[in-house]
Amino acid sequence: MASFAYKPDDHEAEKASNSYLMSLIAVIAGLPLPIINLIATFIFYMGNRNGTYFVRWHCMQALLSQASLVFINSTGFWWTMSIIFGSATVTNSYLAYIIAAIFFNLIEFVATIYTAVTVRKGVHVSWWFYGDITDLICKPNQYHEKNIFSRF
């Protein structure tokens, strides 16, 4: 948990929380096709790119967290495809990879649920690594600064 530039409104907290829920729904729907998660969170981010800083920030963190899973899941997906349709066979390395991928997906899943719930309460959650990249990419713009200013 970290402090944010301002205290978000309830509607901001709801939208920001939804960005994580979006990725969760996408994880469930897109398990066989790992790229779906990334596309879903990207579309949600695009839909909210003119939103408030808090909403944009969390949409971006949700998007980035999906990106790394895409690499892990895509490798597993194509490895599996090459076993089913190609000449590759099930090996110990393959099984270990799939278990490691499931483990990392589970960690991400739990972290996403926790973040969605916490952010819904208006509490800012910055993930290790992903939060720092999000800070670099996502900056408050003039509109939002005005927005922040107008609160006072």
Binding site: T89, Y97, A100
Partner: protein, 263 residues
Amino acid sequence: MKKIFFQGFSLVVLFLAAWFALRQVDWMTFFKVEQATESLEEKLGDLFADIFGKDELYSSDIKAPVDSILTHICTTNGIDRDKIKLHIVANDEVNAFALPDKHLVVFSGLILTAENEAELSGVIGHELAHIQLDHVMKKLVKELGLTVLISMTSGGGGEVIRETAKMLSSTAFDRELEREADIKSVDYMVKADIRPEPFADFLFRLSAKQPDILKNLTWISTHPESKERAEYIIEYSRGRLDGGKPVLGQEAWEALQARLNEL
């Protein structure tokens, strides 16, 4: 920025370390992957072998000579002979093929078309290579998918089983797998002290046969580019074996062919 790179790098290392650590566990045994695969192969092999069973030749004067060639190739190449199930089937087609669970089927038509035991040895070596390199199950999984194969073994689809057996007996593997089996066959023959050139001659001779009799030359018509195959077999085996010893000898070979001609 440095911090982010360090964190990203740590994340990658963490995943790779988790993968490496998990690889130390024998998941194949844990999930009984090998037993499940073997059991599936065994069931499929029995199902397919049954289809050709009605025309199988059990007579020892027919089976014993072919068995001797197979046993010789297996023992000289460190292959467990007991696991290979040889079937000689009365059929005019010039055909031989491998089925799951190490079933090797040779049609009488092929034995009669071969001019000497070395030619037959080449074909046996080729099919043995498909078995040893696990091409049969790979082909089945690729063509039909695991779900269909599993459903076959659980009592479903007699017609599917027949069609699949037909597909296995009448279509070749991928070009790459055929080449791999040809090369492996040459290796087997060299180790078994059998000259590989007759195997290439067999391919050359059959590929040059008239189209009207091609319908009976299944093994050749389904194995494309026979001339090309014969050429690379000759190229690969050049200078690798000069002499070569017969396994059966001319007399036993002629006796086998005479016996088959009586059928």
